[in-house]
Point group: C2
Chain length 171, copies 2
């Protein structure tokens, strides 16, 4: 798909068709994430790719808004160091947002929908994914072929108006 179409077609997908992802597609999405830029190229992230149905069901219980993970074809858990300093934490999270978005655009290009889930119960996800001390998971991305309608460029997304968001030369 043309990049500009993928950028405009990407939307938050939380219902999925039951079939698994093609292995090559999941690998490409993970590879896109690996390629993301980061502060000093430090790549302060690890990805746990989950396709096992029981484990996906377990992951869906880490937050009330994570139910869609149970029905996803796959989920990618984004794992980082549990950094206490606000500034450092913000820097890690900025980079994590970059890698998540590269994965999501790459998914959209393949016709695969992606839907974020926040992680509320950090101890539960630590158990499910066997995370070592000092690491935490703040976000998961559910993946699957959209259960409703295919991804198509959206003309008018539900966003703040362009001229409100964009300032020229100064605030």
């Amino acid at each position: 798909m043309e990049t500009w179409d993928a950028v405009r077609a990407r939307r938050n997908i939380r219902t999925y068709r039951p079939e698994p992802l093609e292995t090559a597609h999941l690998e490409r999405i993970l590879e896109a994430g690996r390629r993301a830029p980061s502060s000093r190229n430090e790549q302060r992230w690890d990805f746990v790719a989950v396709t096992d149905r029981e484990r996906l069901a377990a992951l869906s219980r880490v937050w009330r808004g994570a139910a869609h993970i149970a029905n996803a074809a796959a989920a990618i858990a984004l794992v980082v160091s549990d950094e206490p300093d606000r500034h450092m934490w913000g820097s890690i999270q900025y980079d994590l947002g970059q890698t998540a978005m590269l994965m999501m655009v790459t998914a959209a290009d393949l016709g695969i929908g992606a839907g974020h889930a926040h992680v509320e119960d950090k101890e539960l996800i630590r158990e499910i994914l066997d995370l070592p001390a000092g690491r935490t998971c703040t976000h998961m991305i559910g993946l699957g072929v959209p259960g409703d309608r295919p991804l198509r460029p959206i003309e008018n997304p539900a966003r703040r108006p362009f001229n409100e968001v964009v300032h020229r030369e100064r605030w």
Copy 2:
């Protein structure tokens, strides 16, 4: 450009050719950022698009690593609320990373290079961009046609190995 080519061609560009960006290209990059997803669709960001040469030169002085902004065809300053809470700050920064990456992939698709600059001197950028109280700018993105070689898909990016970053089913 095909999405997968744009994802693989994107790299950090800090030297730019002198010509300005086409207006339609800058607008498209900003529109990509506007479309980014965010926590509860709160869109906790504003973008200041700068093309004035004197202002770009001023912006290049907000950090020792921001010199490339002086020679960029344009810069986009990412403005957010200066949130003191670590958790909220991390959430804002994650979303900001998502919007930055959508802009950068969209730029790469147009053959336009993008290079991050961190913002160290928050008071200086407040003056330059006339930011209101309570807002801050943490990142700028320099934009321009690459001064060295065009953007082409990179076979082996300088990143941690795939099998180190990617875990299967559990850590």
